[in-house]
């Protein structure tokens, strides 16, 4: 057997609650992050990602609590992103029970942060999250900030190369053009990033049909992150994995022990 592809649901969390539409019938409280994390774990999620979208620092403290409670009950890897600016922020999250952190804007503002985190905790804890879109840059893709509304003035492939050289352990590639469209991942972008990076690549943005997941893997993604298709029950994680397994991809089947 080989390494399995990973399916990663992403939950937006603020003030201790999951926000941005969650639509499950089998949850008592659709806003409770621990309950949702447990449910996705039972569904066969291979990892979980929390994106902390808190506006205030007191809300961020609450997120640490959410991470603590989740890590005590759900025994699969947990990545936390959002609002991480310093090595100390990373330390707090890891101590609370996160296994990995993802950074985005703060790494663009100060790339040395990547090396600082990798030196202290190892590259394996560090996911570099990149919001990219098609543009007239050298590679045809540029990095954006502010949820895809502003250009960061960086060529996306140049940024991937730099982040990897500084010690990124994994790349989370979000297509801002495809995000929310459910029209498929940006295959050209995944292919281009795969060609120049030797760390694991998580594709994000645009998942709609089951075929979309397979296409991203064919383009070189090692893992697939999605939010709304899972939250709204368009697909269950178990159905995506069943489909991919039937297509010959290596997936982790749920342990029954």
């Amino acid at each position: 057997m080989t390494l399995s592809i990973r399916i990663i649901p992403c939950l937006d969390v603020t003030d201790g609650r999951v926000v941005k539409g969650v639509n499950f019938t089998d949850l008592v409280d659709a806003g409770d992050p621990v309950e949702m994390a447990s449910l996705y774990n039972r569904e066969g999620a291979d990892e979980l990602t929390f994106l902390d979208i808190s506006a205030s620092s007191s809300d961020r403290e609450t997120t640490l609590d959410v991470v603590r409670k989740t890590a005590e009950q759900v025994f699969i890897p947990l990545t936390v992103g959002g609002g991480i600016r310093t090595v100390e922020d990373v330390d707090r999250l890891l101590r609370a029970g996160a296994d990995k952190v993802s950074i985005n804007t703060s790494a663009i503002a100060r790339p040395e942060l990547i090396a600082e985190i990798a030196d202290r905790f190892g590259s394996q804890v560090l996911v570099i999250s990149i919001d990219a879109r098609r543009a007239r840059t050298e590679s045809g893709f540029e990095v954006t900030t502010h949820g895809g509304r502003q250009s960061a003035g960086l060529d996306a492939l140049a940024w991937v190369g730099k982040a990897c050289a500084l010690g990124a352990g994994e790349i989370l590639l979000n297509s801002m053009d495809a995000d929310g469209t459910r029209a498929g991942y940006d295959i050209g972008m995944i292919t281009a990033v795969r060609a120049i990076s030797k760390v694991p690549l998580i594709a994000s943005g645009g998942a709609g049909s089951l075929e979309d997941f397979a296409a991203a893997l064919d383009a070189g993604a090692d893992a697939l992150l999605a939010a709304s298709v899972f939250h709204f029950g368009v697909h269950r994680i178990s159905d995506v994995k069943k489909y991919l397994s039937a297509q010959g991809y290596s997936i982790r089947t749920n342990a029954t022990v």
Partner: protein, 200 residues
């Protein structure tokens, strides 16, 4: 009682909870006596080989591990906690070797694989008479590492392939070790932890 050795290495709280689910009492400790005398000692480890080894030596953990092994007291290394049981490792050192605890006279070296770290769920194939994997055939476990041991040591082994075949678990008398993270490997990992606790 099970002690999880705290020598400055990462996320210990979820490991504590995972071992508690086996029904055992579990403490996170850097106290030498507790670590020496616990029924089982867990040596976790994240980050680089050299920095883990430095942290371990700084609190006398290398001596604790050697003393436990000499006294046949069950000890479990996880991830880099497994790697530092070996003689040496060449991580991040431009070919220079860093000394490990030296329970096994083999070396840790970088995996030859196109994509590193080896990150995610992979299967294991067990050789020898294993207690750890009792009832756990065809299960996947969660890995995150770029370095590994490649030579067989111990009485029973588990093998995994990423680019090349490497040692993903060892059982050797009182010493057990896993390159993967059982505390992050869902139900299969919890079952493996239960198997280890049953051996204490």
């Amino acid at each position: 009682m099970i002690a999880i050795l705290d020598y400055g290495s990462g996320n210990l709280r979820s490991a504590q909870r995972a071992f508690e689910l086996s029904g055992a009492e579990v403490v996170i400790t850097s106290d030498k006596d507790i670590a020496l005398n616990a029924a089982g000692l867990v040596v976790p480890g994240v980050g680089a080989f050299a920095s883990c080894m430095r942290g371990l030596i700084n609190m006398g953990g290398d001596e604790i591990v050697r003393a436990r092994v000499a006294g046949q007291r069950p000890t479990l290394g996880i991830c880099v906690g497994m790697q530092i049981f070996f003689r040496d490792g060449d991580e991040h050192t431009n070919g220079e070797l860093h000394k490990g605890v030296g329970l096994w006279q083999e070396s840790i070296s970088k995996l030859k694989a196109p994509i590193l770290p080896h990150m995610g769920w992979n299967t294991v194939s067990v050789t020898g008479n294993s207690n750890l994997f009792n009832g756990l055939t065809d299960q996947s476990f969660y890995f995150v590492h770029s370095y590994a041991a490649k030579a067989p040591v111990g009485i029973a082994q588990a093998w995994t392939t990423h680019g090349e075949k490497f040692l993903s678990a060892v059982e050797d008398g009182a010493i057990c070790a896993t390159q993967f993270h059982p505390e992050k490997s869902g139900d299969a990992g919890l079952a493996l932890i239960k198997n280890w606790v049953a051996m204490l």
